[in-house]
Amino acid sequence: MTEKTNVIITASPHVRSPDSTTKIMWSVVISLLPVIASAIYFFGPSAILVIIASVAGCLITERMFGSNPGSVADGSAMITGLLLGLCLPPGFPLWMAFLGGVFGMGFGKLIYGGLGQNIFNPALVGRAFLQAAFPVAITTWPSGTPHWWNLQGDNFALPFMTPMPDTITAATPLGNLKFGDDPVATPVLDLLLGTINGSVGETSALLILVGGIYLAVRGHLNWHIPVSIFVTTFLVSGLFYVIGISQFSPWFMLFSGGLMLGAWYMATDMVTSPLSTKGCWLFGFGIGLLTVIIRIWGGLPEGVMYSILLMNALVPFINRITQPRLFGTSGNKKGAAK
């Protein structure tokens, strides 16, 4: 045996679970692949173009302003880009999608100090920015073209030129039921499969469900949040439906709009969701409740984005009131989180 051996001297524990933040992030990306594939199937090249534009906006911003040059590799900017792309209309001008990515990344995440520091989900910050800046473009849902390889709408519109010269638009299931001249609820089966009009990646509830369950089984996603959102949405909208206040059936509520994508992928963003299981139930309850309220009484057809952003703002408060009970005590009197 050699006299001098190079050994590590560290404090315990000396072994680690194989999980890593980078692995979690990239497995989220992998779980979104079926959703992306279905988006291309339903909306043709437009879908992939919109996704690429928003991903490019996010990655470039992270690379330029991120805390270190390697931070792009952790996968979180990729997720933000994909999620933003997936919740935009397929005919969305690409320069706007790119700008949304830049804004979401820059003002939703990096300005707070990068990964782990942000309060709001960066993809939703990007989308909220686009909603405010381009209210017409973001609510323009092109009706299907005869050939799927045709572009949907005005992807290549130039910045600040008058957009949408000759697009034929059609309503989404939510918009149709709420604001349409002839409100008819889209069958739930269509909502599940995704053969409907809507944002790039929000149409097929079934595939989002598959991806979400895959992540939950692998322990990379806190299933308490989506379950809490779904239970709340279902029960609250069911109540309003039964007593005749709203025309949305609870099943329609669950599978329409951005609820699936939002509940599985955006609300569960670890950085912007509560720490404890109890907190996650509370968080999901708030999102479900706000979504139903905005959908029924709000000025917009969809309320998932604002519900999640509002509840993101409440996370520090939720963390404070849901401190775990210390072992060997009846409650946590002194505990308080920052």
Binding site: H14, P274, K338
Partner: protein
């Protein structure tokens, strides 16, 4: 595994017990020199009774307890006292230690010692005999057993819990004790029960040791009120509070001792050594230790005399492999990394682990993504995510008063699960050390 009692939260690291669990323990050859630090236990360092040049026989008292919470040290091999000097200790400090040059011609027989039959000793005097034999808790903390067996008068003990869970990965020394000396364990249980003045005991064994559960069941004396309770395999099942929760279904109040709810936990190896005291007058001078890990060529279970240098242990076990990365005393979750091959093995050393590079990969620390996995892992229900922020900001007073640092037992579950590899429990260990340095106000 469902249905077996356990506690909430915790983690399940790879067990890696199969490396040594099937290898019977063998006597380790006597080294040329033994180093016996005066601090091998929690409490005041012992007071040396020998001086350089003295001849000592194996089992002779060489240092006595200095105060109640202290322990007696015995010569673990016959030979001549070389010196009493500062020597590297597993804790990383230099500690006054008695160096004994082992006599190669000695038979290493123990001096005959007359011991009373334990049945004839008064209940309250049993702990005195145990103190004389230098018995400390062999579960890892090395707390003097005679102190533990004298609980506060106003908190009577009702149930003795014997800890055979051995939840640390790799370690199999307690497993071997149960397989090889079940009757000694039971004898020790009888003595401990008599010392406590009670009759009932439960033996908790993790369910990954079905052979130990069977052997212990078969060896159980019919007249002893003992139950063998298989437990869910989960770390840290062997932590006192977790074991009590699993077996009694009750939580030890925060800041209190298990005696507050009438429980006492003793390790299986401690019980076996208590029995040895009265059977043969055998003081605590050696114990079964697991030598394991992928970094050592010949892993096994050995009955090693205390004071044997790490160097001698490694040499006898075939030496280190080329990809050795870390040497530990204890298990991988709470063990102590050793920097010096001259460090001796001590009473509290349950295992010597030599981890290879594959077993303890260095991983980059990423930013905290507030995933909450540490909260889901903490068996004490602390908030490691928040505690880490306080520790980083050196807000130690808040860390203790509001975040309950004192309840943290440094089990390492939070660090184990953290996907960003943030050294959480390491922060807490450092904070505890810093707090000790602060003047008491």
């Amino acid at each position: 595994m469902r249905g077996l009692p356990s506690f909430k939260h915790g983690v399940h690291p790879p067990e890696n017990k199969e490396i040594t669990s099937g290898i019977p323990s063998k006597r380790f050859p006597f080294p040329k020199e033994v180093i016996l630090p005066l601090s091998q236990h929690i409490g005041m360092p012992s007071k040396a009774l020998v001086k350089p040049g003295d001849r000592v026989e194996r089992g002779d008292v060489i240092a006595e307890a200095a105060g109640f919470i202290s322990s007696t040290v015995h010569a673990t091999a016959a030979g001549t006292v070389k010196s009493i000097e500062l020597w590297p200790h597993p804790s990383g400090q230099m500690i006054p230690s008695i160096r004994i040059a082992v006599d190669p011609n000695s038979s290493q027989m123990r001096r005959n010692r007359i011991v009373p039959r334990w049945q004839d000793v008064k209940d309250e005097d049993l702990s005195k005999e145990i103190a004389k034999a230098g018995i400390v808790g062999l579960g890892g903390a090395a707390f003097p057993s005679h102190v533990k067996l004298c609980p506060p008068k106003d908190q009577p003990i009702e149930l003795l819990i014997i800890n055979g869970s051995e939840c640390e990965p790799y370690l199999t020394s307690d497993h071997r004790v149960m397989l090889e000396q079940p009757e000694m364990v039971y004898e020790g249980i009888r003595i401990e029960l008599k010392a406590l003045g009670i009759t009932r005991c439960v033996i908790g064994i993790e369910n990954n040791k079905p052979d130990a559960i069977e052997v212990m069941r078969n060896a159980k004396p019919a007249d002893l009120d003992a139950t063998i309770q298989p437990l869910t395999v989960k770390y840290p099942q062997g932590a006192e509070k977790m074991l009590i929760k699993a077996i009694m279904g009750r939580e030890v109040p925060s800041g209190a001792l298990p005696s507050a709810i009438g429980a006492m936990v003793q390790n299986v190896a401690t019980a076996a050594n208590v029995a040895a005291v009265f059977q043969s007058g055998h003081p605590l001078i050696e114990r079964i230790m697991t030598v394991s890990g992928r970094g050592i060529r010949k892993p096994g279970n050995w009955k090693i005399p205390f004071g044997t240098k790490l160097r001698d242990v490694i040499e006898h076990c075939g030496g280190l492999t080329d990809d050795v990365a870390e040497i530990l005393f204890g298990g991988p979750m709470m063990g102590q990394a050793i920097s010096d091959l001259d460090v001796p093995v001590l009473k509290g050393t349950g295992g010597i682990l030599v981890l290879s590079k594959d077993e303890c990969k260095r991983q980059d620390i990423m930013p905290c993504i507030r995933c909450g996995k540490c909260l889901e892992a903490c068996p004490i229900f602390l908030n490691p995510q928040w505690m880490k922020e306080l520790a980083k900001a050196e807000r130690y007073e808040e860390l203790v008063a509001e975040a309950h640092l004192n309840d943290c037992m440094l089990c390492g579950c939070c660090s184990f699960v953290c996907p960003s590899n943030i050294p959480l429990s390491q922060y807490f260990a450092m904070s505890k050390t810093q707090l000790k340095r602060l003047p008491k106000s």
